[in-house]
């Protein structure tokens, strides 16, 4: 719990088969070839003073503080830019070096304010440390004369960014921030303007950080050795006193963070250098947008009510849980065992989702449990299980650093998965080629030093067609990896698939009009992909959230298998999971047809295993999926729902349908940190806990299980897992766990792919990528190395079937939806942070041509109508979208983005078709009828909340 400071080795680690032997201060040392002298020394406990060097970026050699002496060489080379050589004899200390370093520091300090005692970096300032290390005792030049810090000379402090300040008066122009922005983040928002004494750091075109291209990832703040770039929270609260390593609760990258605290208060979140998913990098959400955890909107007292027209009544935990349990039991007695169910959340830990599905299966006695992966990556689970044999991505994130060609389909990594996006951009800057398949011009298509070789700007809803066309080229132009296919895949299914994709109707020319992409581009992209060497596919919800989502996932797997791009570094099928624990919630048996570890409920041997542990009989029939629950609620056969950490009213399609279904229920229990949109229809509210308030694990998109560690006590008094335990006990099904580690032990006992997982093992290894068992005791970074999990890879025939959602005269535009960097999912967390300064409302993007045709100008209010409903948003005119296509995000409930999305869904999994909705867009001057109703309803529900003081008094 004490404050941990990362050791800085000065320059990045190198990997080499060749090792170099040298001596430093007489100590024999051995380092990989390519290692700097500075790092060689640091790795062996010899510290060399430094200012412009830090091990997250390449050496620069500007500060002249790290000078050393090397036997046989003239002068004093900088140790950061000098590589270790065999036989080298290095001296890091001598009277000459001491004098040189002291002189350098003297010059730095002569142009630096001497306000150390009141400086926000006091206690954590490298400049101050180095002044001490070199023994600076005086500044002979005095502090007068031209400088950058006194009242006349200092530039105004830039406080425009909500999370950090830029104080040029304290800048030593070491360029660490500029290089971090370039090398680590890849945004190139910062530069050094001017020369000599006029040199200074500038954002964008010498403008405030907030208006520049800066994406507020925090890499510059992290790299700054002084208080020049400083977190506002540190300025306000002072330096932290303790730190806890935990895992971010936002996207599926699952970055490791150090939560730095004072007592129970978080001072700042610092990306964990040893985090195996993020290697010390972060994005604006994980790094800065954690203030929601203590937002005044938090509800920390259990509440109940008979009807949603009644005021909420604050009650004790016991009373709330007893009431919920009695209602569930009443409903089951009256309407049948299958009349209740539960929903787990990808925002909750593995242990929590495991307990909710266990409660449903053991205490409710049915399989009516589902998770929000239903509406995002359920087609991934289905499609990859069918083809490869496991419902998971095949690689580590680091694998991308070995890729020669990267195909990104229906994903926007720089916004949705920013830390992976930065890693991908780094590889692209190193020369990897890029194919983007997306209806919209995402940032990756063209950004600093990156330009996609192909942007296949297809029409929404034609993913399967383009995958078939790509496969057609592979098969008909002799680009199949015949050896891989013969050794690793089923001969029969490959033959059927090959015959199918080779059909003339699957050629790029035949499908050109359907897809909307010139055939030659498709052919070029297919050749580039198949002939790459290492070709990797990364995909997101732009693939899965379609009526043929599962078909497209299988099409991706087909393409990877046919070209031999599975089973080693640099290749693979990589689903980019939307939320932090999508993979984990699926692994934990949250689907209504599967027990933990993706084993079907009809499998008697698996049921017997769980029945032995749980002491109950498990229903062998699949339960209801989320959309089926809504349908069943409307027909009167589903009456009670336990919904943990999920906002189905805002996130699921066809909002009015969802609202009608929830209104038809007799007992809706919502467990959440806020009164979300779903909770406004609830009868019982159980306070949830944020990721800072509990222990557990998250599993990211690369199957990496990482620890979530408690930083502060749960504000409501119970962690989410404790609430589920208490509810199960109230239902009469005993659960008895003292700590989440015991839940993980149970998961490991019952799940072959988790047999080797325990909290102790995760502590030892830092994190574990499942499968982790007797065969793979350290986990499995790359899957399907020698054989597919299912034995032989299975090709699937993937016929393109156009969606029913088609444009016509009434609805002539295609709406597709997505997300943005600063906001997360339904926005419940990020809307309650200063991230709203970047994105304070959802807007609809229109192509200038479509806008002009309708007389719509930038910022106009426009009505967006579909077959499902109508809403009103403001317009953004941009060529990012193609003519005929419009785009919006869904982060704000009042936007009603899902009022317009339809009930169409993936054929295999019922994953909603969020990505294709036929709409019309017209200029309007008032909110839609739905929005007016929403505002009235929402206000009425908020008015039914007890006053804050009364809630806390219970």
């Amino acid at each position: 719990m004490s404050l941990h400071r990362d050791h800085d080795y000065g320059t990045p680690a190198r990997v080499s088969e060749h090792w170099i032997d040298l001596t430093i201060d007489g100590l024999p040392v051995s380092v990989p070839e390519g290692t700097s002298v500075m790092r060689a020394a640091e790795e062996h406990g010899i510290r060399i003073p430094k200012l412009c060097a830090t091990d997250s970026i390449e050496p620069f050699g500007s500060c002249r503080l790290c000078l050393v002496e090397i036997e046989g060489r003239r002068g004093y080379p900088a140790s950061c830019t000098t590589l270790a050589e065999a036989g080298m004899e290095v001296r890091t200390q001598s009277s000459e070096l001491m004098e040189l370093r002291r002189n350098v520091m003297e010059l730095y300090i002569s142009d630096h304010p001497l306000d150390c005692l009141t400086c926000s970096a006091n206690g954590n300032c490298e400049l101050q440390d180095m002044a001490g290390v070199v023994g600076l005792r005086e500044v002979r030049y005095g502090m007068q004369g031209a400088n950058h810090f006194d009242a006349e000379s200092a530039r105004p402090k830039d406080t425009s960014n909500p999370y950090f300040t830029f104080d040029a008066a304290k800048c030593i122009v070491c360029s660490r921030c500029v290089r971090a922005c370039e090398e680590v983040q890849g945004t190139y928002a910062l530069t050094i303007s001017g020369r000599g004494f006029e040199s200074r750091v500038a954002a964008g075109q010498d403008e405030p950080f907030m208006t520049s291209e800066c994406v507020s990832c925090g890499a510059c703040v992290q790299a700054c050795p002084t208080a020049t770039l400083m977190e506002k929270s540190v300025i306000e609260m002072g330096q932290a006193e303790q730190s806890v390593v935990t895992t971010c609760a936002y996207c599926g990258v699952g970055c490791g963070f150090k939560a730095e605290t004072k007592g129970n208060q978080v001072v700042r979140m610092v990306p964990w250098k040893d985090g195996q998913a993020n290697h010390g990098h972060s994005c604006v959400k994980g790094r800065f947008a954690w203030g929601y955890a203590t937002h005044p909107d938090r509800i920390t007292t259990p509440m109940i009510r008979k009807s949603i027209q009644d005021p909420w009544q604050p009650v004790s935990w016991d009373e709330a849980l007893s009431y919920a349990a009695s209602e569930f039991k009443r409903i089951q007695a009256q309407y049948g065992r299958g009349a209740v169910g539960g929903i787990t959340s990808s925002r909750c830990t593995n242990e929590e989702t495991y307990l909710v599905q266990k409660l449903v299966r053991a205490a409710f006695g049915n399989n009516n449990v589902d998770t929000c992966a239903r509406v995002c990556h359920s087609p991934t689970g289905y499609g990859l299980k069918q083809t490869l044999g496991e419902s998971a991505g095949t690689q580590t994130f680091d694998s991308v650093l070995q890729a020669d060609v990267v195909m990104v389909i229906g994903a926007n990594p720089t916004d949705g998965h920013p830390v992976f996006g930065s890693q991908l951009k780094r590889r692209l800057r190193e020369g990897a080629r890029l194919i983007v398949v997306d209806p919209r011009g995402i940032d990756l298509v063209k950004s600093p030093h990156i330009r996609a070789d192909y942007h296949l700007k297809l029409l929404p809803g034609t993913n399967v067609a383009i995958l078939d066309a790509l496969a057609h080229v592979v098969v008909t132009e002799g680009l199949v990896d015949e050896t891989f296919v013969a050794e690793r895949c089923e001969a029969d299914s490959f033959a059927a698939w090959r015959d199918f994709v080779a059909l003339p109707e699957n050629s790029p020319e035949s499908l050109e009009a359907t897809i909307g992409v010139p055939a030659e581009q498709v052919r070029g992209a297919a050749r580039l992909f198949a002939e790459a060497g290492n070709a990797a596919i990364y995909y997101g919800l732009g693939v899965t959230e379609h009526s043929q989502g599962s078909t497209a996932v299988m099409g991706i797997a087909n393409l990877a298998m046919a070209t031999g791009n599975i089973g080693r570094l640099g290749v693979g099928v990589n689903p980019l999971r939307g939320q932090n624990n999508v993979q984990g919630s699926c692994d934990m048996g949250s689907f209504p047809h599967e027990l933990p570890g993706y084993r079907h409920v009809s499998d008697a041997a698996t049921r017997t295993l769980f029945e032995g542990e749980w002491g109950v009989q498990i229903d062998p029939e699949p339960g209801l999926r989320i959309p089926n629950m809504f349908e069943a609620a409307l027909d009167g056969s589903f009456k009670g729902l336990y919904c943990e950490g999920e906002d189905i009213v805002q996130s699921d399609p066809n909002t009015q349908h969802v609202q009608a279904a929830l209104s038809a229920m007799e007992c809706l229990v919502v467990q959440d940190i806020f009164l979300n949109e779903t909770a406004k229809f609830a009868h019982v509210f159980l306070p949830g806990s944020s990721f800072l308030e509990k222990d557990g694990t998250f599993t990211n998109a690369e199957r990496r299980i990482s620890m979530v560690r408690k930083v502060m006590p749960p504000l409501g008094g119970k962690a989410d897992w404790e609430v589920t335990v208490a509810l199960a006990n109230a239902l009469g099904y005993p659960m008895d766990y003292g700590h989440p580690s015991e839940i993980m032990d149970e998961i490991a006992r019952l799940t072959p792919t988790f047999h080797g997982v325990s909290y102790d093992r995760i502590e030892q290894l830092g994190s574990i990528q499942w499968p982790c068992n007797e065969a793979q005791p350290d986990g499995t970074p790359i899957m399907h190395v020698d054989a597919f999990v299912r034995g032989k890879g299975r090709f699937m025939v993937t016929r393109y079937i156009p969606t029913d959602e088609r444009v016509n005269q009434r609805f002539p535009l295609l709406l597709t939806t997505g997300r943005i960097l600063s906001q997360y999912n339904v926005g419940a967390q990020t809307r309650r942070t200063p991230n709203v300064e970047w994105h304070g409302e959802d807007r609809i993007e229109l192509h200038p041509h479509d806008a002009e045709e309708r007389g719509i100008r930038e910022g106009d209010w426009v009505g967006v109508a579909s077959r499902a409903g109508e809403t009103v948003l403001r317009a953004t005119i941009t060529e990012r979208v193609q003519p005929g296509v419009v785009y919006t995000t869904f982060h704000f409930p009042e936007s009603g983005a899902n009022v317009i999305t339809t009930d169409n869904s993936d054929w295999a999994t019922n994953c909603p078709e969020y990505k294709v909705t036929a709409v019309q867009v017209v200029q309007v001057d008032q909110p839609s009828e739905w929005q007016k109703r929403y505002r009235r309803f929402s206000k009425a529900q908020l008015d039914l909340l007890p006053r804050k003081g009364k809630r806390e008094a219970v």
Binding site: K329, Q332, A333, G336, R337, G338, F364, G365, N368, A496, D499, F500, S547, Q548, S550, T551, P592, H593, H600, S602, E621, P622, G623, L624, R625, N628, E631, A632, L634, D635, S637, V797, T798, R799, I801, D804, D903, S905, W907, A908, T909, N910
Partner: protein, 79 residues
């Protein structure tokens, strides 16, 4: 549940497996998919729909697959 929704869902399953070159295999896969992924009350309803209407609105291969289904268990009235 709304039978039209169930018909639409069943036909979309049929759309995928109906493309398989081996029709019998495709039909078996449709039946298997319905058994493995549909809640019994949904299966019971679609089976009843085929029994009473002959499969109105359903594609032929889907009707054939549904006729292969074993009668789903009746959901117990009480917990």
């Amino acid at each position: 549940m709304d039978i039209q929704n169930l018909v639409k869902m069943a036909n979309s399953i049929g759309g995928f497996f109906g493309a398989w070159p081996d029709r019998k295999q495709g039909r078996d896969e449709i039946a298997s998919h319905l058994t493995r992924f549909w809640d019994p009350r949904m299966r019971a309803q679609i089976v009843a729909h085929v029994e009473t209407t002959g499969g109105e609105g359903l594609d032929t291969i889907v009707v054939e697959a549904i006729r292969q289904l074993e009668a789903p268990p009746v959901v117990q009235p009480t917990a």
